[in-house]
């Protein structure tokens, strides 16, 4: 795929939209003939290549951003803004959108988690247009009730089947409808100024063609040195993130808005690029710098056991990494529901040690805030076990009395229905020592 990909070398930056290719093509690549004809990379080769690209570009984040700005400014197509935080981004939006219509958003993690709550506060009406695309959705199957059972799609012959769906020339004049589009980009090329998207429905393409004001939100770590690297990153977002896209596949009525019914405006179409940092630069010199390797594919959410039950899902696009980043940005507290199972790290295509970083963030947080009595009481189960064994079997009997369970519910905070193990009358190590002593 990478070999066959042609970057259209034009002077003005373009928007390149990628999509999973047709089912026929995927079937062809899955067939014996298809496999023979293409020199396909293994999943681990793709991961290795991607990590190499991410590590290199993390080192050159500032340089890439400067070059990207310079490239864009050469063409005069865009108004370029720098937004160090969401407040300044909202200020930019307010200054440039007075009296204009509603905002259409894409499903970008950056837009939905880091910007949308501020849009709401500032009084902007926003909709995720993706959810207006469910016209033919089978209402009998509203969503996958048990999506953890989905087959490993990225193992199933979709590796080389992400294609360039559209290459949009932004320099063409056109009339836009009276609404604003705010689109978080998947990658941007510093060298060409091209902006890359991965599209699942057709909402991004429609917005770029129809909105009268477009804001491309480029978070600083998404700027890569060149088009090829950006292309690999976008395809990888699809390869590793497709399952997570499917996980969220259900209609949301509250997000539906008929943008097509809005009238065309006479005002000149405006295109803005906002380079959005929101604490990313500050992470570079911390133990959390690996978060800047993230491509926002949300593969880490795929096997997370708590993902489908976490209440934050309603407010934020869920992934363990997203919640960690939000904590580091000071938006939420530590992710207390993490089971530290390690599944997210295994899924991450660039190998971010998410469980380790979640622990680090939690420790940093409680070092400043102080730990709760429950945390202190439960952090040394060995001490509790020693006491329990010493008083066994009395301890086993006592801890099953309903009144005692109620007291334990109050302190240290053990649920009265939770299963408790029974203390042994003699520890294994004591038994072993006696056995050894007696020969």
């Amino acid at each position: 795929m990478i070999q066959t990909f042609m970057i259209v070398n034009r002077s003005a930056p373009r928007v390149l939209i990628f999509e999973p290719s047709s089912q026929e093509k995927r079937k062809y690549f899955a067939s014996i003939y298809g496999r023979k004809k293409c020199s396909r990379k293994t999943l681990s080769e793709i991961k290795e290549e991607l990590r190499g690209i991410r590590v290199k570009n993390r080192k050159e984040m500032d340089k890439n951003v400067e070059k990207f700005k310079k490239t864009l400014s050469m063409h005069g197509l865009f108004k370029i803004h720098m937004a160090p935080d969401p407040e300044s981004l909202i200020k930019i939006l307010k200054e440039n959108t007075t009296g204009r219509g509603p905002i259409s958003l894409n499903k970008s993690n950056v837009v939905l988690n880091e910007i949308r709550p501020y849009l709401k506060k500032a009084g902007f009406r926003s909709y995720i247009r993706y959810f207006s695309e469910f016209e033919n959705f089978n209402s009998q199957k509203k969503f996958f009730t048990d999506y953890w059972m989905l087959p490993g799609l990225h193992e199933k012959n979709i590796l080389e089947t992400f294609d360039l769906e559209a290459s949009i020339d932004l320099s063409k004049d056109g009339k836009g409808r009276d609404y604003i589009s705010l689109l978080g980009v998947n990658a941007a090329s510093a060298e060409s100024g091209n902006i890359f998207f991965l599209q699942h429905m057709s909402n991004i393409k429609k917005d770029i063609e129809e909105a009268s004001i477009i804001f491309f939100i480029v978070s600083t770590e998404k700027v890569l040195e060149n088009d090829l690297e950006a292309k690999i990153q976008v395809s990888s977002t699809g390869i590793f993130g497709l399952e997570s896209v499917i996980l969220d596949l259900k209609p949301k009525e509250e997000e539906v808005f008929d943008f097509k019914s809005l009238p065309f405006t006479d005002k000149k179409r405006e295109i803005h690029v906002i380079i959005f940092d929101n604490g990313r630069n500050g992470l570079l010199s911390t133990p959390f710098s690996d978060l800047l390797l993230c491509i926002d594919c949300r593969a880490c959410a795929r096997q997370c056991p708590v993902g489908q039950y976490v209440p934050q899902v309603k407010e934020f696009v869920y992934s363990p990494k997203n919640l960690l980043l939000l904590q580091l940005q000071g938006r939420i507290g530590p992710f207390e529901l993490c089971l530290h199972c390690g599944r997210c790290e295994v899924e991450c295509p660039v190998g971010i040690p998410i469980p380790e970083l979640l622990w680090r963030a939690k420790i940093d947080y409680y070092e400043k805030k102080g730990r709760s009595i429950t945390k202190i009481a439960l952090d040394d189960p060995e001490l509790l076990a020693k006491i329990g064994v010493f008083f066994s079997p009395l301890s086993n009997w006592v801890t099953r009395i309903p009144f005692v369970r109620l007291l334990m519910w109050l302190f240290p905070g053990i649920h009265f229905k939770a299963p408790l193990p029974s203390f042994s009358r003699q520890t294994f190590r004591d038994w072993y020592r006696r056995r050894k002593k007696n020969g």
Partner: protein, 243 residues
């Protein structure tokens, strides 16, 4: 190799010593001496409760103790998946040392070690027959290390029928599922494996993790076996079998 260093973990030391005794027994059946050095909790519960100092103290203590006991020769074996991953990956990321790296490279899970013995043609396969239908629950801390040696081990024992494999989390995660605020989450996550146990109508569940076993048996009241306990039973059984 005629010795191994055994890290018991808290569960099999304080709650279910039969696991450790079975491991000792299995090793003796294979002509291997077991060294049980001084040890403490691996530190994972402390890390989970944001007690870095406590975890450091425990981790450094056990790493030193295991390092000395192994005499740079003997492998280190655990019967608890969480202790295993703490010794292999998590601990050294926070408390790096030469000893921690050494332990990390030489630590085995008990089933993994049995299969290692088998690969070296050193495993005593004098198993009797155990007629039992089981579900194997692969604990997260082994799954993420891509370890399914227990399945291979179960296949070697005559009479054991593995009717299903659960690779999803049970929701217990140490003391997580016991906490007042987490119980309902833990219950929701656990419901899948409970359903599986009911549907498959198995006699028992095999899992390496004490916490997973506690969670699974809490609703189904099903018998839980650590693979080492089953292996001990297999060595004790006659060729015609026991049930």
């Amino acid at each position: 190799m005629d010795k191994v260093v055994y890290f018991t973990g808290c569960f099999s030391n304080y709650y279910d010593p039969e696991i450790s005794k079975a491991f000792l027994w299995v090793m003796e059946k294979n002509g291997i001496d077991v060294i049980v050095p001084d040890q403490a909790c691996c530190g994972m519960p402390m890390m989970a409760n944001a007690n870095l100092k406590g975890a450091k103290k425990n981790f450094q203590k056990i790493v030193r103790s295991l390092f000395e006991a192994s005499e740079k020769i003997y492998p280190i074996v655990t019967t608890c998946p969480s202790c295993n991953i703490m010794l292999k990956n998590e601990g050294k990321a926070f408390f790096p040392s030469e000893e921690a790296n050494y332990i990390s490279e030489r630590v085995f899970d008990s089933s993994q070690f049995i299969m290692y013995l088998d690969s070296q043609k050193r495993l005593n396969k004098d198993f009797g027959r155990i007629e039992i239908r089981v579900l194997y629950h692969n604990p997260c801390h082994l799954k993420v290390q891509n370890m399914e040696d227990t399945l291979k081990l179960l296949k070697m024992i005559p009479g054991i029928h593995v009717l299903g494999i659960n690779r999803d989390c049970c929701g217990m995660a140490g003391s997580f599922g016991m906490k007042r605020g987490n119980y309902s989450f833990s219950y929701l996550i656990g419901s899948k494996v409970w359903r599986m146990v009911e549907e498959l109508k198995v006699d028992a569940v095999v899992t390496e993790c004490g916490g997973c076993g506690l969670q699974i048996s809490s609703k189904n009241k099903i018998r839980i076996y650590h693979p080492m306990v089953l292996l001990k039973m297999a060595y004790s059984a006659t060729p015609s079998g026991v049930h």
